[in-house]
Point group: C2
Chain length 241, copies 2
């Protein structure tokens, strides 16, 4: 399998097996990993975990048990090789199943923290990746959708625990509406832009499972570039300094 290569997020020390023919982790993954405030113990779920990049890397920050939930066999298998390579079989468990079946593997109201990089695009949105079904499923709402993702987060999380989600700003209103239906309240958001004067191209969301009314904090933006150069903040995140 010559298309496999190893990569590391933000200097975490955890090596991630990637396969360019499938779906490699990208900037979204690194940003979400850095945005999340990691619980020190208990149970963490990486929902729609792909090759497990975020969940695996979190093992460098916590003693919590980490579950990687991924529908696609090829990606789950890749994550399993990374678990072995990093000697993390005691701390990280791969669950190769769809999120609609997640309660077959994990109890409701049992999870202390969730990270989730869900498919961003609706199944209707045009795609140039039809010849790559693994990537298509990772990016598009083909096998799951936003409502199902947020519902699963609601079911799994303990009361007052947090979920960290990376998403597209153009679907922010929809995200908030679906969250509200499930009593998941956004508490903190951060927009990511290429440059100061660009529209936002990503949004990072820290949400809490609570029946209380939320008070949302819109944090300073993360601006990736200063002219042609990575901004100092982006550099710190990417290099894990």
């Amino acid at each position: 399998m010559s298309n496999i290569y190893k990569d590391v997020i933000s200097n975490s020390g955890i090596t991630i097996n990637q396969n360019k023919d499938l779906y490699s982790f990208n900037l979204d993954t690194i940003l979400l990993y850095n945005f999340a405030k990691v619980v020190k113990k208990g149970k963490i779920v990486d929902l729609c975990s792909g090759n497990g990049a975020i969940g695996l890397s979190l093992a460098s920050k916590t003693k919590a048990h980490i579950y990687l939930v991924e529908l696609q066999k090829e990606l789950s298998h890749l994550a399993e090789t990374s678990i072995l390579d990093n000697d993390l079989t005691d701390q990280v468990t791969s669950i190769n199943d769809g999120i609609k079946n997640v309660q077959r593997h994990l109890h409701h109201d049992s999870i202390d923290m969730i990270v989730c990089n869900p498919p961003y695009f609706t199944s209707k949105e045009s795609t140039h990746i039809k010849n790559n079904p693994v990537l298509a499923i990772a990016r598009h709402e083909i096998k799951t959708d936003l409502s199902e993702v947020i519902y699963s987060i609601k079911v799994l999380l303990k009361e007052n625990s947090h979920a960290y989600i990376v998403y597209r700003p153009d679907r922010l209103s929809e995200l908030f509406n679906v969250m509200s239906e499930q009593k998941i309240q956004p508490k903190r958001i951060k927009f990511v832009r290429s440059h100061n004067d660009d529209n936002a191209n990503l949004v990072l969301v820290d949400a809490i499972k609570t029946v209380k009314t939320a008070s949302l904090v819109v944090e300073p933006d993360l601006v990736m570039y200063n002219g042609d150069q990575l901004s100092s903040e982006a550099k710190k995140i990417i290099e894990g300094l």
Copy 2:
């Protein structure tokens, strides 16, 4: 009436009668005035218009007829003196009534554009302005609330017409949820911060009455200060350059 003084928004040329004892227009008003994309003809409503500062100033940019809807008699009266002073009786009409009665004065589905600076604070939120009932009603949801405001916008607007709203970021999720219930879709938002590295303290929302799915643009922030100095962008808006 020695507490009356005259002020101008952004070099519009329209003088606004203000009364410091009641409620004066402030930065929110100026920002909303500048954020709104003004229709050139038809009918505009300034909902919760206070002393009419935004609606009156818009007369400098459009030939549309402008309706100022304000519950509070003292503020409506002040707006009426400004209409006279600026010789705008043919273009601007003051409606001194609560927004729940707005259909007594204006037909549903008849308005081409709405600007609205609604009360930001719930009636429960603590206030230091209990000794100023006019200001309390302008700022707090005492006589109206978000649902009523958005409902009125839905009723008044023509299909595919825009409403421009200034609001608090900490209630953004609630705003989006209420909008969604009324088929008012946010199309474009801009956060306002004091400094680059501050949390947002205002959000400007451009929303459209439509049954279609929205695609939201999160525009570059408006950053008011660069150190101790007004930023060049803020200066342009405030000075109307």
